[in-house]
Symmetry: C2
Subunit: 321 residues, 2 copies
């Protein structure tokens, strides 16, 4: 059995490959058998800490995996998320690899937004605004840089130090990029200037308003992963011509940004245009005009871990053999 470290993932698994894998998994989820059983939660003693067990299976690629995540939401001395994936080859039953899963999660969560942006944003989008510069934000930037020619990145974070850190990481990775990075201290100002918005906060009250979005903007909201999370206000939903989700199942259970307005009768889940897999498999462009506002609200989906883990394992096995 192989143990694949964070360094292995970062060194050998590119965002380009990750986006191919994630797009393939979404397509397979509509055309073949993909299982995502309910996750199991074990609550520890005190402080809201818990361990999540999230198995999934993609028949077509013949791998199953489980992501095991320890979450410590309130103890600042312990990393908020510690994740490990165990990969099982279902044709032989062998447990072939364990993978440290922080980088993998960041990449595949970025890839969801990258694919959403590829299919939903204007092709001439140039300005990316990132709302929330935490652990997931760098993967978001990488994925969007893959699909659009971004010339300006605007960063907003509650505390600017994280925005500065992200800025430094961007210039380190894209050392020959001619674009500029600006840090703003007002989230509404940041989204006002954007062609593409990424919202990746853990907010439970809206950080920006849909009133400030300009026509033609595409928004990826990935921060919500619980019914009480709320990153953007209802004006985003009411102005959007297309609202896409990664999966209906996930949206119904976890997408606070959609569930809170739905439950307040300010908006309805019936207005969801479709799943990301529908958009991928669609023959025609989803966007009707350059003025359309589009939203992808993503809570994440387990089978992406299986395809990404299998892809990394296949590559690393070749390198180390």
């Amino acid at each position: 059995m192989l143990h694949i470290t964070e360094e292995d993932v970062l060194k050998h698994y590119s965002m380009k490959q990750c986006m191919k894998d994630v797009e393939k998994a979404f397509s397979l989820s509509k055309t073949t058998r993909v299982d995502i059983p309910f996750r199991t939660i074990l609550h520890h003693n005190g402080e809201g800490a818990h361990t999540l067990y999230m198995p999934s299976y993609i028949e077509d690629i013949q791998y199953a995996s489980i992501k095991i995540s320890s979450l410590f939401p309130s103890n600042k001395e312990i990393p908020m998320i510690q994740s490990l994936i165990v990969l099982t080859e279902t044709i032989s039953g062998k447990h072939v690899a364990t993978l440290s899963a922080s980088a993998l999660t960041m990449l595949r969560t970025g890839a969801i937004s990258g694919i959403g942006t590829k299919y939903l944003s204007r092709k001439n989008s140039e300005v990316l605004s990132v709302i929330g510069c935490g652990a997931q934000s760098f993967g978001q930037v990488q994925a969007i840089m893959e699909v659009r020619d971004i010339t300006k990145i605007i960063l907003y974070n509650r505390t600017t130090d994280k925005a500065e850190l992200l800025s430094a990481k961007i210039f380190e990775l894209y050392s020959s990029w001619a674009g500029e990075v600006i840090i703003m201290e007002d989230a509404n100002e940041a989204v006002k200037a954007a062609d593409i918005v990424v919202s990746c906060t853990s907010a439970d009250t809206p950080v920006f308003s849909g009133k400030c979005i300009k026509k033609g903007t595409h928004i990826n909201a990935i921060g919500s992963c619980a019914p009480n999370k709320h990153e953007y206000d209802v004006h985003v939903l009411n102005r959007a011509s297309k609202v896409v989700v990664d999966t209906f199942e996930g949206a119904k259970n976890e997408a606070g940004g959609l569930l809170i307005p739905h439950n307040n009768n300010e908006w309805s889940l019936n207005k969801i245009y479709g799943e990301l897999s529908d958009v991928i498999l669609e023959q025609e462009e989803v966007r009707n005009s350059a003025d359309d506002i589009t939203l992808l609200d993503s809570v994440g989906v387990g089978f992406l871990d299986t395809i990404c883990a299998a892809s990394i394992y296949t590559k690393i096995k070749e390198i180390y053999k």
Copy 2:
């Protein structure tokens, strides 16, 4: 993160220690918080193959674990069970170890019968009959050798080659033991001669009859792990003065030996005396007389994996540090 191999387990984890751990876990299950969420099953394509995900948590020891088992019941070219345990330290959220879990499962399943035998069998028991000489049988013999002075071991298997293999293993481990091993070709003859019976077959029709059990015998039946499994007939139940289970929950869902007679109105689950933890915590001896026939029907219980994995990890960490 440490990877603990089968060899590590066999070298550094004794049956004596395993029985201490298992007895402690059963006691803790009555006095502190122990979680065993429902296991998750992912069915693969074809041949009844599937992967089981079985998490559990013992608050007192501050570890959670999940056993991941691939089962291939009908493909003879693939091992029937391939298991891996992931151990998580819940005080820090760290995933501290993975453990290959075949030897661990054999030891802890043996330990259940060993503890049952310690509390339920006559102290002067000398003859052990083993019905079914498959993967679990050697752990059963080891555990019972820990608690009773066995002078004769009778082995029965459908095909005698496995009985011969087990006999060789016994003499290898207990090289200075003065006892004898006999292989019999009739299961009823084998139980007739026994003070203690271990039944560890995967039978779905009874392999032996309770009519052949002599007075004063204690029986450990561990082969049943599904409602359609059936190792012994109803006469065992009707002659037993005490029927003990590892957990009521497991018995109600998986103990075919109890469920089939219950559903046929030949016997009732209401006659179960108690759980193994009740017997451990009881102040007085459960056995009323030397003539009592006693039965422990065990389907296994997840939290034992957590305590054994944590115990092995603690020991190996010290050795390798």
